[in-house]
Symmetry: C2
Subunit: 242 residues, 2 copies
Amino acid sequence: MTLRPTQACDQCTLRQLCLPMGLPDTELWQLDEIVQQRRPIEKGSTLFSMGSPFEYLYAVRTGTMKTVLMGDDGTEQITGFALAGELLGLDAIHQGSHPVTAIALESTSVCAVPWSLVEDLSGRLPTFRQHLMGVMSRGLASEENLHALLGQRSAEQRLATFLLSLSQRHHARGLAADRFILPMSRADIANHLGLTQETISRLFTQMRRQGLIELHTRDLYIPDLDALRTTAGVSTSAASSA
Amino acid sequence: MTLRPTQACDQCTLRQLCLPMGLPDTELWQLDEIVQQRRPIEKGSTLFSMGSPFEYLYAVRTGTMKTVLMGDDGTEQITGFALAGELLGLDAIHQGSHPVTAIALESTSVCAVPWSLVEDLSGRLPTFRQHLMGVMSRGLASEENLHALLGQRSAEQRLATFLLSLSQRHHARGLAADRFILPMSRADIANHLGLTQETISRLFTQMRRQGLIELHTRDLYIPDLDALRTTAGVSTSAASSA
DNA sequence: CGCTCAGTTGACGTATCTCAATCTAAGTGG
DNA sequence: CCACTTAGATTGAGATACGTCAACTGAGCG
């Protein structure tokens, strides 16, 4: 047993995906020193709320979060899902407060990085800065893909694309691309894709009948990824998180 | 007549909106020295194409551009419109090539800033870096709003919100909020909002009959902005560009 | 073992799309 | 300066994908 906290960045399996990507070992300790390991956020509870001041960037360690934009009229839009290794809060830099609420879909642990530290490291370490800007740039490109998905695609194509996006992101984490658990409800998927719960449910049974997927509750298996890609409309580059 | 090019950043009316915002005068010349003023891009021609290498960040000086994401199957999605002072190319940093094609809606002039210069200035000037990250962050937040617009709102609400967004952006440039020219076609508006040309046309005549707008060809007048906000669904913070 | 909430399925309604026919504005060449 | 052309815009009639409302079912949990 070592005295080093098991959550240390240099031990983290997500290091290649997460904020410290590209940081030299000699600088990594600066993150380790200051990054706060919060106790897990319970399913359904919020990490930060829309309108709250922006102080930390968060990296998901384990679990899954959703980000929700609440409308004045009570409508809610799920703008994205954050898997392990993905960052939350980059959309808050501009106005200094979070434009969305972050809610845990399951028990989820995060690393909290003070924004002031990120700014400091950005000024001193070009590699770190480039990585950070790359992440933001990728976020912009992803949302453009999502825009095209919502604007041009049928319900079936949206759902297939969404499943492929999850598959791809799991694969990027070294997990199986064809078998994983959906951490979110049908209603969450529907909301995110601009559809209704009922439509998602109908599509799932239709896809089951076509042999495109096997799905028990939230346990998903995709026997033929290429077949799913075909129904998605050949969009290989699926949209990712926000 | 001065020998200084009239396009110099320190003379530019967009300085407070554009990339050099917050740059000290003592540093401004570094942009001026290197920024290329391109000859105007004619209506309908492209500034850069999807897939082309990312070398420059572009700032719109005059005119309007649209950014289009082309699908493998021939579908096109207009992801945003860039007005004077807005930046193009931030979504290309990550993958090193442009994910969208930029097309001029009218004769448009841009400033081309080498990305290497931007990176250099980002490393040396904290204020500049903060501004740049702020712009990207705002882009992320804007696209989240757009997501909610496409996912939750009716055709009428989408169009009203879109007009208010244009109005607001004109106002931010010191122009009239209630009277401006639509630089894009009905088909472009429709595509951007996930609707059809016919629906937009029908909504325009409906809004005309309700007295919400006056519109001759592309000449728009909004007699009562608050009324339009009401039909938009009280979303004061309208979505902006991409 | 029954409560509760997520998920499924059905019947029906409708906002928006599709197809197609004008109509209008802005050029363009004679 | 006026026919002619052409692309954009408007309008109508009919089709449909998806939503709404509502009942039912199954899974997890105390």
